[in-house]
Every structure is written in C-alpha cells, then in structure tokens.
C-alpha cells in the first residue's frame, strides 16, 4: 500500500511539473529552478493526506515558488487548471509572486525572509493546527529568519514546521559562492529546534519526516536536500534557469521530453 501511495505522489508530481512547464511556456515565463526543486515537497503536502488545509496552515515564504504552488493547487482542484496559462497576466488572479488572490493561498509573499515570522504568529495564535512554512536555503541569508527561529523556540511552537527547499542555488549563482550558509542543521539545533535532513525528492522520506514533525515537542525544521530545476536534466544545477523568459518551442519540447 505505501509503495502505491508513493507512486501516486510521484505521478502527480510529474503531472504538476508538466503543468508548470506548460504554464511558463504559454504565459511567457516565470520562476523555474526553485519551483521544480520544491515540487515533490508541495505534492507531498497537498496529496500526502498528512494535513487538512481547511484547518492546518501552509505559508509559502519563498513567494517566487508560486508557479509550483499554483500547479499543485490547480491539481488539487482549488481552481480550474485552464486558468494556469494566464499566469502573471494583467487580468489573472495568478500573480507573479504568491498571492491570497489565488484560492487556497493563505499568505502573500515575494520579499524573502518574512514567512517564518508570519507562520510563527499563526502557530502561536492557533495551537490546535499545524503550520507548515516553506522557505528556501538562500532565503536564510535574511536576518529575520533567525529572529523567527529564536522566537519559535522561546514560545515552544511545536506545531510549527519549517521545510527548507535546500537546492543550493540562488538568483546570481551557487549559494556557497554568494553567501555560504554554513551548517544549517547545526544552526537550527543550536536555536532549539528539532532538525531532520532528508532527500527532498524521496516521497517516503518526506512523508515520514512530516509525520514525525507532527508529533514533536519542539519547533521542527526539515532540511529537504533538492536538485535545482529537478526533472529537466539539461537545466538542473544551472542557476541561469532561476527564471525563464520566452522559452523557445524547441527548448520547451526538449524540456517536456525530459519530464
């Protein structure tokens, strides 16, 4: 049964990646590398039957991962999939960075480093629910993230889960070159959190880590090691694919074939 479950998630994630590529091709472009790396995390959150987002909260702190969240929400029937090609166009509710105008979205963001504080505020005010926040590794260069990390420990926010999409790249290059983050796991441990490091493309590991985090007595950090632009091999680990503009038909078809 679990094997089937993970196959189900894997197939869904593939559908979402194809939808994402289609959306960016038809709409003229948008962020790609991060959305592809975080897709398996988002698929597990929305289809893994671990959370009930009518009650639990999901906060996307890295707002530029919006294209991934939009395709997942569309597949989860929060809105009509046919709207996706209108992404970031004038009359569309699908804003370029994640927005509460989109059904299913609870927090609008785009400026990095703010979501974990918002999630911590929610976790404090609604202790009966889980609050899941998705941040990026590069985002941890923002000092506010560490202010929130201190806060979550002080107020023992055991219902807070910060998943870090650790894809090792940011807009201008490799995170280790732009500003090394050191040992993030050790830092979160020092801040008093429970930390689990996993393969962010392994649905079994994702499911187990999330399920363990739900039962923890401390704020939880899941470091999900991912591959930047995962699934499109010729784009993987190439920071130039942070975002794409006007993909050519041949690149689009080549990328589609890889998925």
């Amino acid at each position: 049964m679990p094997l089937n479950k993970y196959k189900y998630l894997k197939d869904l994630a593939r559908t979402c990646r194809l939808d994402l590529l289609d959306m960016l091709y038809k709409s003229g472009g948008g962020h790609l590398g991060g959305p592809l790396s975080s897709m398996d995390i988002l698929t597990t959150l929305y289809f893994g039957k671990l959370f009930n987002f009518k009650k639990d909260h999901f906060i996307l702190s890295a707002g530029h991962l919006a294209p991934a969240l939009y395709t997942v929400l569309a597949n989860a029937k929060f809105f009509d999939k046919a709207k996706l090609p209108k992404f970031a166009s004038f009359n569309s509710f699908l804003q370029g960075h994640v927005s509460t105008k989109v059904p299913g979205v609870e927090y609008s963001s785009g400026s990095l480093g703010q979501g974990l504080s918002f999630a911590a505020g929610l976790a404090l005010g609604d202790k009966s629910s889980s609050v899941i926040c998705l941040t990026s590794d590069g985002e941890h260069q923002e000092g506010q993230v560490w202010e929130a990390a201190m806060f979550a420990k002080k107020y023992q926010l055991s219902n807070l889960i910060n998943i870090i999409d650790f894809n090792s790249y940011q807009i201008d290059g490799a995170t280790k070159d732009i500003m090394p983050l050191g040992n993030l796991a050790a830092k979160y441990v020092q801040f008093g959190w429970t930390v689990t490091t996993i393969d962010g493309h392994d649905f079994s590991q994702l499911t187990k880590a999330l399920s363990k985090a739900q039962k923890s007595d401390y704020p939880n950090c899941i470091i999900a090691k991912t591959i930047f632009a995962k699934g499109i091999s010729f784009m993987e680990k190439d920071f130039h694919y942070h975002d794409v503009k006007n993909l050519s038909e041949s690149t689009y078809l080549k990328a589609k074939a890889k998925l």
């Binding site: 927090y107 703010q114 504080s117 505020g121 929130a148």
Partner: protein, 314 residues
Amino acid sequence: MNLTSMRTSFGETLCQLAQNNPNIYVVDADLKSALNLDEFAQKFPTRFIECGVAEANAAGIAAGLAKTGKTVFLTSFSCFSPAINWNVIKQSICYNQCNVKIVGSHSGLMSTNLGATHQMLEDIALMRSLPNMEVFSPIDSIETEKITKVLARSRLPAYLRLVRPTTPTIFDPKLNFTIGKSSILKKGRDVTVIGYGPILYEAFEAQAKLNLDKPYVSLEIINCSSIKPLDFSTILKSIKKTHRLICLEDHQKNGGLGELVASLILSSNLKCQFIHLGVNDKFGRSAKTYQKLYDYYGIGVNNLITAIKSITKK
C-alpha cells in the same frame, strides 16, 4: 497648563479594553515599560508577546497572530517600528490585510535628549505611503485614549504616533474621535493653522501673543489627527474663508502633511497662500528641552508667529 502623558494614557486604555476583549494582544519589542504596558503584561501574560529587540520578526508575528482573529497592537519606538520593519509592515501586514495596529512612541524632535537616532521624523512619510494603512497622530493623552478605543474596534492596519514627554492637555473629553475627521479646535477668520500631535499647542500660544496686537490676527486651528484618511473638506472650507494656510509639523517637510495638503490644494483650483513649517531635510540632535530644538529647526512658537505675520502682510 495641565501636562499629561500619551504613553500612560495608551497603556491604561489598552489594559481597560483587554479586560473585556480577550482578542486584544500586544506584540512588543523590549519596550514594555516605555509604553506603559507593565500592567498589561502582568494582567494578561498569555496575551503579551515579547519578541525582544527584533522588530522585523515582531511585525511578522503580529501579522500571523492577527490572521487567527486577534486584534494586535505592535509596540515599540517609531525609530525602530516602522523604521526597521517597514517592508514587513508593507508585505506581511498591509498587503495581507492583517489587523495590526503599529504603535510608535518617541516620534518627532520631542525625544529631546536622545538625539538624531531616536528622533523619528520620517514615520508619517513611511506610513502614509502604504496602501491599506491608516495613520493617526493624537494631539494629547485624551485623544490618545479615544483613538486607542477606536483602533481596538477597527479591523484594518493602522499606525498610531505617540511622543515621549508629557504634553499640554487640549482635546475636549466630551468630543469623539472619528476616523477621517479633522476637528476645529478654535474658530478664526484670518489664518488657518493645521497640524497634528502636541506641536499644535503652539498655535494657541501664538494666538495668545497675537491677541496683544491691535488689530489682532485671528487663527483657525485645525487638528488633523486623522492624517490618513485625511478630512480635506474641513481644511478646504476653512481656507475658502481665510485664504491663508500654515501647516505645522514635528516631522520632515519631505513626505509630511504639508506636502499632502499642498498637492490637494493645487488640485482644487483654490487660490491660497501657504507656509509649511517642518524639519527641512535635516537630522535631529540632542537638547535639554524640545522647545530649544523646535526653535533651532524653525518650528517653534516664534517661527510660527513670524510665519503668521508674513502671511498676513501679503
């Protein structure tokens, strides 16, 4: 003149309100005593959230808490909040429409001896430029109480500007504060003086001195404590009568009330003489009394009298 404290009034009022409203929370950044919130913290420990010296996070915590149905007062000095956390206020509070009231004390030159870093002269500019944000600056402790009560009932983001020292008590306790309404504190015929906060007391001092002249200049004094939304119609009505306007503010002229009103007058086709008294693109500095600083920066009572004499000569 009876001197009272806005900060004392704010803390006492919030404590009273919290007694009957379990949804009132305070999110503070290590300035509990300075905002007279010791009693609140003692009486409602689970509703007093201490964030330490971390204003960006505090604004985010306030926003998240507000989304769970609380009315959150985010308290600090204005030189830290909204100065340090402005973009968190923009995105997490305003863009996400969270019910957070940002309370910034120690605004203006009235932080006297603390010097430039603690004399917040840009807060109105920062806050009035944000969509979804309302901006209020009480004239004294009585109006602070009235505004705090109104804010506890509203569901929108708002900024409340407080000052450090005790200041003259001016507001008529029988009157109400209404969002988007200016109050005419004194009727007059020759010059309209507008402003917000305790500095407006200078207009009364100026009038007292002008009364000794024959014939004397009569001032119409308007309290614009609701800076956003601004009640321009009351100002317009007054300057249709006086044709002369002086705006007085303990804030940079850049981005202040004077600029806002000047642009509204220009758009209204009304002809009127105008003098703007504010801090002219300068940092503050320390002094023993704020009156000394008001004189130095050209916003003291003598500067106001000079402006009145010059505007009535034309």
